[in-house]
Symmetry: D2
Subunit: 284 residues, 4 copies
């Protein structure tokens, strides 16, 4: 029957499928379990000897590890781009750096007193993921991308660990606290104040402005692509980052597309981001 054909068209697709699964990891540093979500390309389960490059994909503030897959549909975009050859098969993994900060939970990618998330990411999360999912293992097989607060995390992680990633793709990134948000002060002692402080201390712009020659050379070993909408309230900070990078002589792609700080902008960014990191992987 035609109808059955339509309904089952996708399920009947010949050959193996990609799949998305969520799991959790026990962190000694954070003294807690942290969830994560991972995209496994078609064929992952069939050939246990195959290994993959890996993209760490960071969500925004108040997001979770499921955001890129539910709200920005990274899995569907990836399937299409792999089918057409524009992206290579890879593992995509989103850690959960969030929690409802208004209800007292920790939030953020940076180290702060009581929440050493950056330490967790590099000493616990990355080794765990790369072993469990047969991926990464070297700079040429790792990339990082993220949106908003996760775009700031993307940039800072690449700045702090240039030997770890061959490509960094911050989208609508929180490169520093924007002027419009610098009102602060209501909660000088709370977790939100710590988060604000951590963003200022980890200013992506200041990092480049203060970089010495060795650091600049290290940053040149990463392929950079910065993308921010023309209606985004973070645009000026992204412009300042681009200008700092240019002054420092570090090559970088820069794009301003139509749009604001929206799910739609981040969804469409995937069509450029996934091919870009695929091209950057140099030990597929």
């Amino acid at each position: 029957m035609f109808i059955a054909a339509v309904i089952t068209a996708r399920a009947q697709w010949p050959g193996p499928h990609s799949r998305i699964e969520s799991d959790s990891i026990r962190s000694e540093i954070l003294k807690d379990y942290r969830t994560f979500t991972v995209y496994l390309p078609a064929g992952f389960d069939d050939d246990k000897g195959s290994t993959y490059p890996v993209l760490y994909l960071l969500h925004g503030i108040m997001g979770t590890d499921k955001g890129w897959f539910n709200d920005q549909r990274a899995g569907e975009v990836m399937d299409q781009l792999v089918a057409s050859g524009e992206a290579c098969p890879m593992i995509i993994v989103s850690p959960n750096a969030g929690g409802n900060i208004f209800e007292g939970a920790w939030n953020g990618y940076f180290n702060m007193p009581g929440w050493n998330y950056e330490d967790f990411f590099f000493t616990e999360f990355v080794p765990y993921i790369e072993k469990k999912y047969r991926c990464g293992g070297s700079k040429g097989r790792r990339a990082i991308a993220g949106l908003s607060m996760g775009g700031g995390g993307t940039t800072v992680y690449a700045q702090h660990h240039p030997d770890m990633f061959c490509a960094a793709y911050p989208i609508s990134a929180l490169m520093d606290i924007p002027a419009v948000g610098a009102m602060g002060g209501q909660q000088p002692e709370g977790k939100m104040a710590l988060l604000n402080k951590s963003v200022t201390e980890n200013s992506c712009i200041n990092f480049v402005n203060n970089a010495d020659d060795n650091t600049k050379e290290a940053l040149k070993s990463i392929k950079w692509y910065v993308d921010c909408g023309d209606d985004d309230f973070l645009l000026d900070r992204n412009i300042e980052f681009m200008q700092a990078m240019r002054r420092a002589g570090i090559p970088m792609q820069f794009r301003v597309r139509d749009g604001g700080h929206t799910n739609e902008y981040w969804h469409t960014a995937l069509f450029t981001a996934l091919p870009f990191v695929s091209r950057c992987f140099n030990d597929k």
Copy 2:
């Protein structure tokens, strides 16, 4: 605080917002209530004197009136395209032509014994919507689009009522039963058999092939745009429709993009479909 700024960035956007709401209509023809979902552009509630063009947007088999808004995100795409000027403010409405046919519910856009949906659409639904939402009212202010079974509905409705729509935009359309689905016969008396039969009887291709000169002239008064993925199992039927239209001398845009019969294909189609119908409206 920055964090509050990020979280509330969208809610604080100055000026009025678009909104999406679901409602239902009592049909005397179908002897039942039918739900529908409607997109109302920013400003709709503020100026009660303003009127709008309207796009009827038809879902696929087993879909509902919420599909285009939940799965293909028509609201978010529309907001962005209106902001950039690529689409004009309009009412977008999806009727519910579905129900779980496997559980005995009716399904489909065409008239069949016991389910005169096409009659319902033109004599009950359209007048109700255009009065309630201050829209449409003439050919130059009405367009129709849809995916899969709704792409067939789009084409047939425009063929049967060329005086009603200035533009028709079928996507991944069921122009006729595809060869791969012509197995039929298991349920010769059931609703599924009636649906299959109605699709064959309403072949979009045969309609063009059999059109007389007056009908051809009427079809030329509609702007046509047919879009189908290169991996879609319905591609050949769309090609046959294009070739029939060309033989009949009826101008038509035709595109084959990358992809299959997927949500992602239909989502990205909106970026072309909404500007297209906006350009076709000639009495905004």
Copy 3:
């Protein structure tokens, strides 16, 4: 024969064609003849009663009135976009503001001692063109666009005459002298020095920064679209213009695409610019 079919495919295209022609106008202000090149849409010659919107398209330094048509292929792009409905039929005209300044010729769109080009443009050229080619006649039927020095001319002409244009589309625009070019001084008395001085005096950025409320309101009556490549040496000046416009509360589209100060960037800009001005024309 197939071969004849291929070779003559374009020439045999049914119906009327667009055409491009060059002519000249005697200027009393400039005391000279000035050439110009004009695109006339298909059908222009057939219906003498039809009138058209008009796009003034300005070339860059050392360019001529033929540049947009020979180097950026505005005619071919226009034909394709009209065929698909993305652009409306319009007159496109490029005046010649150039001459080899190294060999002593005048150059530039602004008034300077001995070369009152802006006066020529508005009091002689526009009236002549709009009468001769049955176009323009009101703000809603006039747009302006240009590249590099012509992007500066676009912006300044719209700033000085906001009642004249409904849309302004500067591309890779010379919004002010860039830092890298502020070396000057070698020819303090020559035409090149006068040109540099005229650009500084006509800074698009300062104009917005110094605008009073009435001027800001007037600038809001124009639809603005600013487009500049991420590798363009003029990017920072375009950013400063965008920021000045935002501070002044004047809506503006802003895009940074991939590329530098190249013919290829300007060619591809046409695919967005021509639909944009078509949408802005409000009295077609």
Copy 4:
């Protein structure tokens, strides 16, 4: 001075440039000199030890080896795509298969009595180019693309020599004589009749329909991408080719974009074709 900065912006670009040069080769098979044009990527002259993948890019009927570079601007597109990382550095070479057939010259990519061009291409041209320009040398480092008659040449060359190319990208291709051109007969003995006959004998469609299992397997070792405009008079032949390939189980990308048999269509095809072949090269 600013002006000097603008004028020399491109010339001053730091580092090496790509360049395009034309030359000729003496053919014993054709008993004549044949010209060709080649794009050499930036850095080609600096490192004499470096080798490159190669793209053979075939012109259309009545074209020459200079067409892709003058009319479709392959050099400018290539420079931009290499700068952004979307295409890898490669040698691009166009042979001259043309001559004014109306004035008695030979024309075409296939063997015909007195003009064994396919033999020339594989036994004389390819070895000469790959030695002189340090490129190719294996299937994984060779791709082929072309427009119209050159799209037919692309397909046939890949069909006859599947061990030679990793990717084939026919654009607006002459897959067989179209119905509209099957008038023939006026010049039964001339070169034009021979050319028509050679196209029919080398039907790309029949080749696939008649392929045995070994041939099908060989064709699967090539990455195929077929692109043809919705207004192209050759569209139906491209559709037939796609359908034949699908029946034969040979994967293929297929796209129908907006446009006809025009320079503009072929120019914009380069933005997809050059990244595609770059991804296909597997021994860069």
